[in-house]
């Protein structure tokens, strides 16, 4: 009798776990593509949302970011070099 009492809760616990698990698993996002397949030659593709502006935006963003970064590097390098030259000149003038 003493052993049976704690066991009474087991079916309730299993049922509760099952009821929680089913909707949790059902709400998981669908499986993803595990490979990319090229379109068969000669087949016609129709697009709902035009892809070209998105594609151009992605490539343009990359180019803009790299150009901007190289420009900032160049600016920082020039600033440091100018400062070094000015300091060297100042030091030479001070020695005289």
């Amino acid at each position: 009798m003493a052993i049976r009492r704690p066991l009474r809760g087991v079916p309730t616990a299993v049922l509760t776990a099952w009821l929680i698990a089913v909707p949790a698993l059902a709400q998981q996002p669908p499986g993803t593509a595990s490979e990319y397949v090229p379109v068969p030659e000669g087949s016609i593709q129709t697009e709902q949302l035009p892809a070209a502006p998105l594609l151009i935006a992605a490539y343009a963003f990359f180019i803009a970011v790299v150009v901007l970064y190289v420009w900032t590097l160049g600016r920082r390098l020039t600033k440091v070099e100018t400062e070094m030259r000015a300091l060297e000149q100042k030091a030479q003038t001070g020695r005289r």
């Binding site: 993803t32 090229p38 992605a58 490539y59 990359f62």
Partner: protein
């Protein structure tokens, strides 16, 4: 060293990008995603660039913490800056692809969120370097080590959680018509990474020399 490598690396970058762009233009569109899948040729190499930068920053940060190496510190700061640069490109090109492929710009799923957090760790590195004052190199190195340790989990997250993001298995299954453009794109990004790293390390060298000059002048 950085200066002597710069010219050949820059030339290789230009040539490889020219080849990659021609190959990407000739690559077939994907059967379900169409033309927008071509973002993948710049999206994935951006993350490759970010991971290379994270690796550089991580290894250099270990040397900064263990030996207090000034040379390693220059590589660490350059690596962190490039991680933010390449990561920003990955974080922007991804949503541009997702808008067409998934119908949304962004979704709070594990791969996207973990990638954003990883990027933010390296933004934090740069903030620490700029504003934390004396000793910020060691503090930032610890931040970089945390980011480096986390980065492999971000990469494999798609294999462990059921996410909308394509799995890491996509890359080895690419047919030759898509694999060759991807290869050249990755090589171009690696050459770009090397070029930018060389320039940034050179800048850090000059900044250190300027600091030394100021100290000498004050003495």
């Amino acid at each position: 060293m950085a200066k002597s490598l710069l010219a050949p690396l820059a030339a290789a970058t230009v040539v490889l990008f020219a080849i990659a762009l021609v190959l990407i233009a000739q690559a077939p569109p994907e059967s379900t995603m169409g033309l927008v899948q071509k973002i993948f040729y710049f999206h994935l190499p951006s993350w490759l660039g970010m991971y290379s930068a994270i690796f550089t920053c991580g290894v250099a940060s270990i040397l900064v913490l263990a030996k207090g190496s000034a040379v390693a510190d220059r590589f660490a700061v350059a690596g962190a800056e490039l991680a933010v640069l390449f990561g920003a490109n990955g974080l922007v090109t991804g949503p541009l692809w997702a808008r067409k492929a998934w119908g949304v710009w962004w979704t709070w799923e594990v791969r996207l969120v973990s990638a954003l957090l990883l990027w933010l760790v390296f933004v934090a590195y740069l903030i620490v370097r700029r504003y934390a004052g004396p000793g910020s190199d060691k503090l930032a190195a610890a931040v970089a080590l945390f980011g480096t340790a986390v980065s492999p989990f971000v990469y494999i997250s798609v294999n462990f959680w059921r996410t909308m993001h394509p799995k890491t298995t996509v890359l080895p299954t690419l047919p030759t018509s898509m694999g060759v453009p991807m290869l050249f794109s990755c090589l171009a990004f690696m050459a770009l990474f090397g070029t930018l790293l060389a320039i940034r390390v050179r800048l850090a060298e000059r900044e250190t020399a300027l600091d030394a000059l100021y100290l000498a002048y004050e003495d």
